[in-house]
Symmetry: C2
Subunit: 136 residues, 2 copies
């Protein structure tokens, strides 16, 4: 296992897997990223067991990114906080995943802050930005 | 065509398609959401043509969500701004898509603001939030 932080993405459906796949178009040599999806056919308990097994495999040096606050993937992640101090950030998008992979040699709590900042910076009203620039 | 705003998601790879599919687990009856992916095998010009055809099909009442600022999907979206005043927001995540679908009866510029606010609100440091709550 590498010494870098592992990133585990927990989402509804195949969103996490798509984020992993797409992130490899930018950071192709990373092995420290994983995803588990909660599908409509799956009971929450089954999903929780899969997450538990993955967290045991990855160890404590892991940060968890989830899709939406209040959703089952985020709640399942939170249920493991009593066991280990995993950083958990909701609202995962591609920019967060890429920044996480590029900076995963930081401690998991430093990485959490980097990813949270990257998340906010990744949201840009591009049309307004370009309109304002053209009006200057 | 419905009177609600159309949401077009432009991303690298299959991320946009996964967002559409996953959003249907929350807003199942929406037909106003579409995705196009830029794949490694595809030239930027080919992607641009696909986007142009889709924008012509969807009409002016469309908002564009893209994955990362500075990426080809965002740049391709921006190239159509001279033709039509599409709102374009980068950093797409599941919360933005769901809020967009739930509020797409607003004007496209109102919807743009709603989605941008939803984007920032969707990013929560869940572990710190729970730790602070438990320490109170």
């Amino acid at each position: 296992m590498s010494e870098g932080c592992n990133i585990l993405i927990l989402t509804h459906g195949n969103l996490g897997e798509a984020l992993v796949e797409t992130s490899k178009m930018f950071v192709s040599d990373s092995n420290e990223i994983y995803a588990l999806g909660l599908y409509p056919s799956m009971m929450a308990e089954e999903f929780k067991q899969k997450v538990e097994m993955k967290l045991e495999e990855l160890g404590s040096n892991t940060i968890i990114l989830t899709d939406i606050f209040g959703g089952t993937p985020a709640n399942v992640a939170a249920s493991f906080l009593a066991r280990e101090d995993y950083p958990i950030i909701t609202g995962v998008n591609l920019g967060m995943v890429i920044e996480g992979l590029l900076n995963n040699q930081n401690t998991k709590h430093e990485l959490s802050k980097i990813i949270e900042d990257a998340a906010h910076n990744s949201i840009v009203d591009l049309s307004s930005k370009l309109r304002n620039r053209n009006n200057k």
